[in-house]
């Protein structure tokens, strides 16, 4: 076990950021602690200051704000599950949350922690990336917003500079007919994803796809979007998407994946499954939008 640390308790976002700025890399935020506790005990992470975000108010809201879906960094996976009914996209995120952890760890684990931990197999990254989510970041020099795909820079690496924290995830343009679906294969329900894929579809009033997102998890150091699959889907009807286009999108997923072989699965298996899971995700979006979800 690593050395003991000093416990800091900010009660505003500004204070949290000040503490992080003044201690730099020697300080780590502590949200639900479901990754932190294990990493600290195993000596994988070592820090002198623990900045507990539990007592910072207003970071745990999940709400629709105009045509934006806003999810606070400290909202828990359990909150996502309980808020499923808010919107078709929270429905998909709630379903994702229920695949993750166990009930009694979902009540601790936060959305911000899942993203900031930046594991290639984190389950929330693909659906949020497919939806075109943005990360709102607060630092000593103020606020900035970046696409979630740019938030991840490598295995366990994010674009957060010293002194910065993630405050919120914003999914823009969620009005109208939208649907999303996330699919993964894992050895057991408490195991991490071996490979995963998410799809997002938005229709215009004539029933054509105007926006599409396809994102893969656990096949590269960060979540990757399959731009060619997205381009294929745009302009299609739901029927076309389901018949043939989903299949081609799956082939693009295979071409985009850069999977590795490890103790859990082979590169070949992971690569093949990206196509299967992408087709399933697109098929599910189509079914939801046709009213058969």
């Amino acid at each position: 076990m690593a050395n003991n640390f000093e416990y800091l308790r900010p009660t505003t976002m500004g204070e949290a950021v000040d503490m992080k700025s003044s201690h730099g890399a020697r300080a780590q935020f502590w949200a639900g602690g479901t990754d932190m506790m294990l990493q600290w005990k195993a000596g994988i992470t070592d820090f002198d200051y623990c900045i507990d975000l539990t007592y910072v108010p207003d970071l745990d809201q999940i709400a629709l704000d105009g045509d934006q879906l806003r999810i606070g960094a400290m909202a828990t996976l359990d909150d996502l599950d309980l808020q499923s009914g808010l919107h078709p996209l929270t429905e998909a995120l709630g379903e994702t949350a229920r695949m993750m952890c166990t009930k009694q760890t979902r009540t601790l684990a936060t959305i911000g922690g899942n993203l900031c931990n930046a594991s290639p197999s984190a389950d929330l990254s693909p659906p949020l990336a497919a939806m075109g989510a943005q990360a709102r970041i607060l630092g000593p020099d103020g606020e900035r917003t970046i696409p979630l795909t740019e938030f991840f820079t490598g295995v366990r690496k994010t674009a957060l500079a010293d002194g910065e924290m993630l405050t919120e995830i914003v999914v823009p343009d969620v009005g109208g007919d939208v649907a999303a679906s996330y699919n993964r294969v894992a050895r057991t329900v408490v195991d991490i994803a071996l490979v995963s894929s998410a799809a997002f579809i938005k229709l215009d009033s004539s029933g054509k796809i105007t926006k599409a997102g396809v994102a893969l998890g656990a096949v590269a150091p960060t979540v990757v979007r399959v731009n060619k699959a997205e381009d294929l889907l745009i302009g299609c009807s739901l029927k076309e998407a389901a018949n043939g286009v989903a299949n081609k999108a799956g082939e693009h997923a295979i071409a985009t994946a850069n999977a590795i072989t490890d103790i859990r699965a082979s590169k070949e298996y992971r690569t093949d499954m990206t196509s299967v899971l992408t087709q399933r995700a697109i098929g599910r979006c189509v079914a939801i939008l046709e009213g058969n979800g």
């Binding site: 003991n4 602690g33 506790m37 507990d52 952890c101 009930k103 009694q104 760890t105 009540t107 601790l108």
Partner: protein, 153 residues
């Protein structure tokens, strides 16, 4: 000193920065019904209720629980006056060695508070965050359904 509310009593205790809530409950307050098995959030043995929600107390810092309402198995019933969930586990033989039982009972309490009339499938799903090494799961699901019946009256 940190203020903790546990089973309806307020305590002022010294808690070190890295001390887990499960360690605080066991070592400082002597609440040995809080069992720690895997210590990694997977087995559910250390489940307690925090503001009515089930949480694995091994992954939470003791200091993070300040101001929250904590319930452990010791706050559920007594030998002479068992909680209906405890009665149901005894009647349906929802355990063998009993080590995992406090965690299961706390998870059951949280579940039935939110879903008083569950199906067998819902009960089984709700108990999936706890592991019984003796393999009493089918009896545990029966215990949950029996407890629901008792509480509904």
């Amino acid at each position: 000193m940190y203020k903790l509310n546990v089973n309806g009593t307020s305590y002022e205790i010294d808690i070190t920065a890295s001390e887990s809530l499960s360690d605080v409950l066991r070592d400082r307050l002597g609440l040995l019904g809080v069992k720690v098995s895997c210590g990694e959030g997977e087995c559910g043995s250390c489940t307690v209720l925090v503001d009515g929600k089930p949480e694995t107390s091994c992954l939470k810092l003791g200091r993070q629980a300040e101001g929250q309402e904590i319930t452990t198995i010791e706050g559920m019933g007594t030998y002479d006056d068992l909680h209906p969930i405890q009665e149901a586990y005894i009647e349906e033989q929802g355990f063998q060695c009993g080590f995992c039982t406090p965690g299961f009972i706390m998870a059951t309490k949280a579940f039935l508070d939110s879903n008083p009339n569950p199906t067998e499938e819902e009960a089984s799903e709700a108990m999936s965050g706890n592991i019984c090494r003796c393999g009493a799961h089918p009896y545990i699901v029966k215990s949950v359904l029996k407890a629901a019946e008792k509480i509904r009256g």
